[in-house]
Subunit: 315 residues, 2 copies
């Protein structure tokens, strides 16, 4: 067995603590050696305020996981790639398509691995769903992705800023699954985006797509859902109906559950990152973010009632 990869993490917020750190701790391919965060500190590793300070102080860092908001990701990713480090990007991989395009070329030029992750693609039902749909004729796709933003993003102001994507931050998870499981591409034909009058990002969206062979798809994203949360994708085919629910954890065919497993998305992500590093390959699929950019470009905007975050950090 080769020595573990010396890994650093940048951005020690909710997603890092909830998901990245436990999965890194469970994976013997990685040795977490440092963290960079404006405010937070991690026990047991070297801590820095900025990524640049960290890279200067610890040249032995071989790979870095970027978990801060997407608006700040490109500059640090480009710096890390230029220093010959492998880079893992939380989703969405950046604030623009063009900057990700640039990072992909840079990773290739520098001979290191860039991994633009889509954690929902590692939900346990996704690969079985892809396998079942392969070769079948798809009639329609329906996505319902409805959750309570106050519960899932308490006080996260960046998500309402330009580049934060609003409801597309969870919605892109659905798009990352759809683009993985469908055997043919789809393209947006219309969209309506609902912007709270006091916010720069949408709180809800309705998207319509077409695909080859008369496939139609519709997606409803809504951040105003209290009570039960819904993360469902239903696909009608000429040989039956597939439903992925609970964000991809449960797969049912014609009403019968055929696959159900505990969530282990980030374990899958770090296993894949180790594999990419070993092979010096990159994995950068921008199609989920391309659909989001298309929705912002083609979508009709409507203004809805203001959103106030009552969760407690100043709103």
């Amino acid at each position: 067995m080769t020595a573990p990869t010396a890994l650093a993490i940048v951005g020690v917020g909710k997603i890092a603590r909830d998901q990245h750190l436990p999965s890194i701790a469970r994976n013997p391919a990685f040795d977490l050696v440092a963290a960079a965060s404006r405010n937070a500190r991690l026990d047991g590793v070297e801590n820095f305020t900025t990524a640049a300070e960290m890279f200067e102080a610890m040249p032995g860092i071989e790979a870095v996981a970027l978990c801060m908001p997407p608006q700040a990701r490109h500059a640090i990713a480009a710096d890390a790639l230029g220093r010959g480090k492998h880079v893992l990007l939380e989703k969405p991989p950046g604030a623009t398509l063009s900057e990700i395009n640039h990072l992909a070329h840079l990773a290739e030029a520098c001979g290191v691995s860039l991994f633009a992750t889509w954690h929902s693609r590692f939900a346990p039902g996704v690969e079985p769903a892809r396998d079942w749909l392969a070769g079948k004729s798809i009639r329609s796709v329906r996505v319902d992705w409805m959750e309570d933003v106050r519960h899932w993003h308490p006080g996260q102001d960046w998500i309402w800023e330009p580049g934060g994507l609003g409801v597309f931050d969870p919605g892109i998870n659905a798009l990352s699954i759809v683009t993985r499981i469908l055997p043919e591409p789809v393209w947006l034909t219309s969209a309506e985006l609902s912007f709270p009058e006091n916010r720069a990002a949408p709180i809800a969206a309705r998207l319509r797509f077409e695909g080859g062979s008369d496939l139609t798809a519709e997606a409803i994203f809504d951040w105003r859902q209290t009570g039960p949360q819904t993360w469902d994708i239903a696909v009608e085919t000429d040989e039956g109906k597939l439903v992925l629910s609970a964000g991809g954890a449960t797969l049912a065919i014609d009403g019968a559950v055929v696959s159900e497993a505990p969530e282990a998305e980030y374990d899958g992500i770090y296993a894949r990152f180790a594999e990419l590093i070993a092979k010096r390959q990159s994995d950068v699929d921008i199609s989920p973010l391309r659909h989001v950019a298309d929705a912002f470009m083609l979508g009709r905007r409507q203004i809805v009632e203001p959103f106030h975050d009552h969760a407690g950090d100043g709103h």
Copy 2:
């Protein structure tokens, strides 16, 4: 000499009459045989109301130029490619990035040529500018693209609808030049978009970009300019300053005009289309539209005073 390509045109509006028809008439590689338009009729060719009727009635059509608004382009382009016809797309090539991606794959699968045109790239100063900038270190780029929408787009409602792009319809011409002449890529870092309160598309935009090696770029698009019209791109390098003005017609280096020629953009487009068809190649560079999609996704929106088109067709 081989026989001319039997060409049809779809969408007989202002751009078709002003630009496409004269250039087609001057190019012996093409024989215009038919037109499809909801309202207009062309003398000397077969006329149809829809492209589908035209393709059914005249299977000998070998190539088609699509000049209608971008929102309607994909369905007809996919139909034409599937029937084995070469396709030329007016700019912008479509309403979404994903649909163009689909068309590019379809053209390859069908063994025909797809040409996503950017007419400003055929302005006479563009290739000399690209040649002069090659290998130079770029410090900054400044784009000023300011025109009077009432003069250039009288009564064109589609341009204010979702997918019509508003001021990005001319602005994308500047972006098509910038992406052609710069020796390195740029990516958007911030944008402000000004939407008239009664319109679904922006009337003005301010974009900021970065590039490798500390390059910065700024673009100002504004549709409210009366009086002299401005279509200028200035590039500061470590070896002097380049200015492309009049939309790319005039090239000056350090204040001295080095290239000035009459506009012949569409002659260049049809010469290139003939070359692509002869070689069964495609030319689909989506980078200008990708920057626009990035601007819609990352841009901060502000509402400005309503826009009323006094030019006469019902507003």
